[in-house]
Amino acid sequence: MFYTFIFLPLISALFVPLLYKYFNRLVHTGWFVLVVPLTIFIYLLQYIPGVAAGGTYKYTLSWIPSLDMNIVSYVDGLSLLFGLLISGVGALVIVYSIFYMSKIREALHNFYIYLLMFMGAMLGLVFSDHLLVLYGFWELTSVSSFLLISYWYERKSSRQGALKALLITVLGGFGMLAGFIMMIMMADTYSIREMLANLDVLQNHALFIPAMLCVLLGAFTKSAQFPFGIWLPDAMEAPTPVSSYLHSATMVKAGIYLVARMTPIFGGSSVWFWLVAGIGIITLLYGSLTALRQTDLKAMLAYSTISQLGLIMCLLGVGSLAVYFGASDSGTVFGVAGFAALFHLFNHSTFKGSLFMVVGIIDHETGRRDIRYLGGLMQVMPITFTIALVGGLSMAGLPPFNGFLSKEMFFAAVNEVSQAGIFGLSKIGLLFPIIAWVASIFTFVYCMIFIFKTFGGQYRPEKLTRKVHEAPWGMLFSPILLGLLVLFIFFFPNVLGKYILTPALTAMLPMTPMSSYDLKISAWHGLNLELVMTIGVIVVGLLLFKSSKRWVQAMRNYPQGLTLNHWYNKGLSGTERFSTSLTNGYMTGSLRHYLIYTFTFFVIVLISSLLLLYGIRFDFSNDAAISIFDVGLVLGMVIAAGTVLLAGNRIVAIVALGALGYMVAMFFVIFRAPDLALTQMVVETVSTLLFLLCFYHLPKLKKQIERVPFKLTNLIISLAMGLTVTLLALSANGHKLFEPITSFFENSYKLAGAKNIVNAILVDFRGFDTMLEISVLAVAGLGVYILVHQRSKGREQHENE
């Protein structure tokens, strides 16, 4: 039952093309797709009472039981919060996309398949308890996001954005996989819940820190943390519903989910705190500063997403201190930070989703997304303006919107952390509230720019490409609903807090008792330091906004050479150039070089292994005596071989090679191998003739009859090769481990009825080899025939080309 709903998007994606093919003329395909997230949302709603009461649900779907690979789903507060976000925002985005995506012009079946794929992957991710299954869904979100970003694949920027997103998120994904495998090795289980049960084993293991770093790499790349956030602004080439869904509400929160999920395991250590909170707050500042420089509305929202994700990440880092302090009072205090993280995560999904939709509406109605062309839209698009105002002010952290609450809690958390006095916080802990405050001011300023540069000021219809009017109601429906949610949460935060966020926090910080939080949630009133900070933000922010004309322009002139994107591009092209030059450096196309590599490798490996294993040992005690004939023949062979090398003329070399072969045949005679001698004789003659044939066909023009040119490397390598093989053969000869099996073949007359033992072996004892040798000869013959015969045809074809 549960799996039917979780896999519903993936299953229904299969039917989208059919629906598109037969019904799209009548009904927009999106209406069919809308059913899917709605069903899931309603289905998941029924878990709220049970989960709020502290219950958890576990479902197992057998996949590869013998490898312990089963799709284990685990429903607790955290996964339910994400599940509701994914299906809820998903439904709203689909409603919006029905009016945004044209029924006629767009390839809707592609769009909805990718979207459903993504939704299914995301649901699978948040409900997975099995680490490797989680990784599988993680990669599926990367892939489907790649497909969605490059939805308009005929545009170059879409393809580049998709490529960048894929490269960065998959890099992190691989890191995460490595981290997961380390965790599995440490805990000897795939299940996150079982890891939580024996935390001591993990925390005292040598791989604890490496695993943490790898997992964090995955989380940071996915959630666009500094310095991996650069893919997110480029992903804005996707259709706006995609940006709204993936790149503000769901996918970028997968990293947040991972960090929250791993907090009970890794939290409480200083490395985790400093990485998560430190990177988070740097991202917050970086994102808010960079967002100011953007003129494109979507890019501005992208950087603001990065910055808000940094805020959530920082809060998660602060919240992880609760694991350190445990059930004490300080634990409760920092637990509130974790609560704030989840609260802001939810709030961000609502207001950022609506803001993206607003930008989509503006783009759709005016044809422009650049604030330098926009202005004065307040009069023509009053409803859109209202939604933008609600979303923008919520993002800036003003009352009466939900962003205010979470920002207050954020300030409270960073103030608290500056006084924590552990992990070296007593020295530089004060930086946290300062950076947070400065970043909030910038956030306020870009929110103001976003709202008032777009909707305020002069209306200039001549700069816009379309005749502007208010958006259709269908398009406005989703952002209005999200805007209402923003307001609703401000006035009734405890409904959300009690039923959804508290169980999620329990899942994130299981060791702290839940009852101590209930008071804190409602206590958002009162004159305190946080409120003063917010007033400061508003005052300084307004002053900065008033004077923004002067300094924002200066910020836009920030040198391109110092941006992260510049370094990314440079790194990418540098890597390409480096690998090209490296490959071109050794893949010269010259056979001589490849042979040098082969032989050098051969010599180095064999000699070093012989030396390392003390394999060079000679034992001549069992060797036969050397007769005068052997010496004479060897002498003759050496002379013949030397002649081959030093011959000034090819025909001399060929003849000397023939002589060498004949002397080998004589060797066979001396060592009593008549069959070998016969064969060697014939083969040698034939091959000498073949050499002569080749010699005759050498090209006339560049025919240079000269000595083999002398090269020192060649000499060294050939000497080394000869030495290696000689050493190896001599050592092997001295190491006879057991008796040869010759005695068995000596019975050839009794066993095979043959007096000739060699022939008996060839055709009887080991006839398979002979058969295959025959086929080798057949293949060689055929090959020669084809080469000779088909040559002319090939040439004709070449000429025709």
Binding site: I628, F629, G632, L633, L635, G636, I639, A640, T643, I651, V652, V655, A656, G658, A659, Y662, A665, M666, V669, I670, R672, P674, A677, L678, M681, V682, T685, T688, L689, L692, L693, Y696
Partner: protein, 93 residues
């Protein structure tokens, strides 16, 4: 015993002959000299194989003697044709 000594001496003389022929192969001013020397090596090989067979008390190598004879004949003819006409096997049209 004396017989064996004689055989060994004969082998040594044959080996010297082969070495002398090798010198001709290396030095030989023209290709014809070299082919001649190769042919002569073939004959010497026949002889030494025969002596060996006697020395080893076996007639397993008699086939080889015949074969060397045939091959050195064919080889020499082929070389001769090559030197004379430039090709070994002429194409008849």
């Amino acid at each position: 015993m004396i017989f064996k000594t004689v055989l060994v001496i004969a082998l040594c003389i044959l080996a010297l002959a082969i070495l002398a022929n090798l010198y001709r192969i290396i030095k030989g001013p023209s290709s014809a000299d070299r082919v001649q020397a190769l042919d002569s090596i073939g004959i010497n090989l026949i002889a030494s194989t025969a002596v060996f067979s006697v020395l080893l008390h076996t007639h397993a190598f008699f086939d080889l003697i015949l074969l060397i004879g045939i091959l050195s004949f064919i080889g020499t003819v082929a070389f001769a044709r090559f030197i004379e006409r430039g090709v070994v096997i002429e194409r008849k049209r």
